[in-house]
């Protein structure tokens, strides 16, 4: 069914299209764009196969007015039925993320994951959410403070990384130890622990950084001026595009 692409709305996963013949607005995700340029009445168009109605179609009373600027691309809608439905074979593709080390320590009891039925029109979103889940699991393993770092199972690595950071600060001559003046209050600092992951989620590096807690600084005492004018990002982008 030939359609014109009207746009996508923020916060939804749908495309809004207008059917060329019936002048109806269709909200759907089952859209395939046609790369070649074809014009119907001077307007680029989309197509949707007739027998598929996935979502409600909204009747429009008054004649449609839309700006041509909203037409971003051309698409062809494709019926789901005409494709072979991805079934159990593709299910296996998504149950692989368990090879992450130490994410689940109790491996003697294999947990049954609930097999969820995937919505057909959301299948391209599925992989993305899986990725997010996996990164979140790894993220939770990072110690939040020095105590956690030195008691967790990777304490050797963390200790090593801390020593490395400390040594580099020392070689940079970042500070000298002095007695504190009576009227001054020292600012605090903390260690930040990060696991650097490779493309496949494997641990690449244990990274530790010392950060000063800038919010404990007092204006006029610990700092006076802060930022230079760095807001000219647009100019930077202009140069990049050149």
């Amino acid at each position: 069914m030939p359609c014109v692409f009207l746009g996508c709305y923020e916060g939804t996963k749908t495309y809004h299209l207008m059917c060329v013949e019936t002048k109806r607005i269709i909200i759907s995700r089952d859209v395939v764009s046609i790369e070649q340029s074809k014009d119907i009445g001077g307007v680029p168009h989309f197509e949707k196969e007739k027998n598929v109605v996935l979502h409600e179609e909204v009747e429009v009373e008054q004649p449609l007015t839309f700006s041509r600027d909203t037409i971003l691309n051309e698409t062809r809608m494709e019926g789901v039925q005409s494709e072979s439905t991805p079934s159990s074979s593709s299910e296996e593709e998504f149950v692989v993320s368990n090879d992450n080390p130490s994410s689940e320590p109790s491996q003697d009891v294999p947990r049954e994951r609930p097999q969820r039925q995937r919505r057909e029109w959301l299948r391209d979103w599925w992989i993305a959410t899986k990725e997010v889940e996996r990164t979140t699991v790894a993220f939770l393993e990072e110690p939040q403070n020095i105590k956690e770092a030195l008691t967790c199972e990777n304490s050797k690595e963390w200790e090593c990384a801390m020593q490395e950071e400390y040594d580099s600060l020392m070689t940079n001559n970042t500070w000298t130890l002095v007695p504190l003046l009576v009227d001054r209050k020292p600012i605090s600092c903390k260690w930040v622990f990060k696991i650097k992951q490779g493309a496949n989620g494997e641990v690449e590096r244990y990274k530790v950084r010392l950060v000063a807690r800038g919010f404990t600084q007092t204006y006029g005492v610990d700092y006076n001026e802060t930022l230079r004018r760095l807001q000219r990002l647009h100019l930077f982008i202009v140069f990049l595009h050149w």
């Binding site: 605090s188 600092c189 950060v211 610990d222 760095l230």
Partner: protein, 107 residues
Amino acid sequence: MTLEDMEIHQMDVKIAFLNGKLEEEIYMEQLQGFMHQGGEHLVCKLHNSLYGLKQSPRAWNQKLDVFLKSIKFMKSEADPSVYVAQVGDVKFFIVVYVDDLILVCND
């Protein structure tokens, strides 16, 4: 770039913020886990910038500014993130965004 037949090159500076020199006197507690034996009452007087300090970005920008001026770059009046230098017919431009630099020259 094609107009004046210029070359473009992009770079970023590693650990930029740790390179800045501090103008203010800042005292910081000793680090957890690296306490000086017998000197627990001492504090760290910072010379170089650290992550998280209010003046870290400025300290870095100052340092870069001084360096670029020392190699005969001039800061643009209109936009302080652009530096220009000219040697004979060859023009150099540097655009700075914190620790990312773009170098452009017509040679």
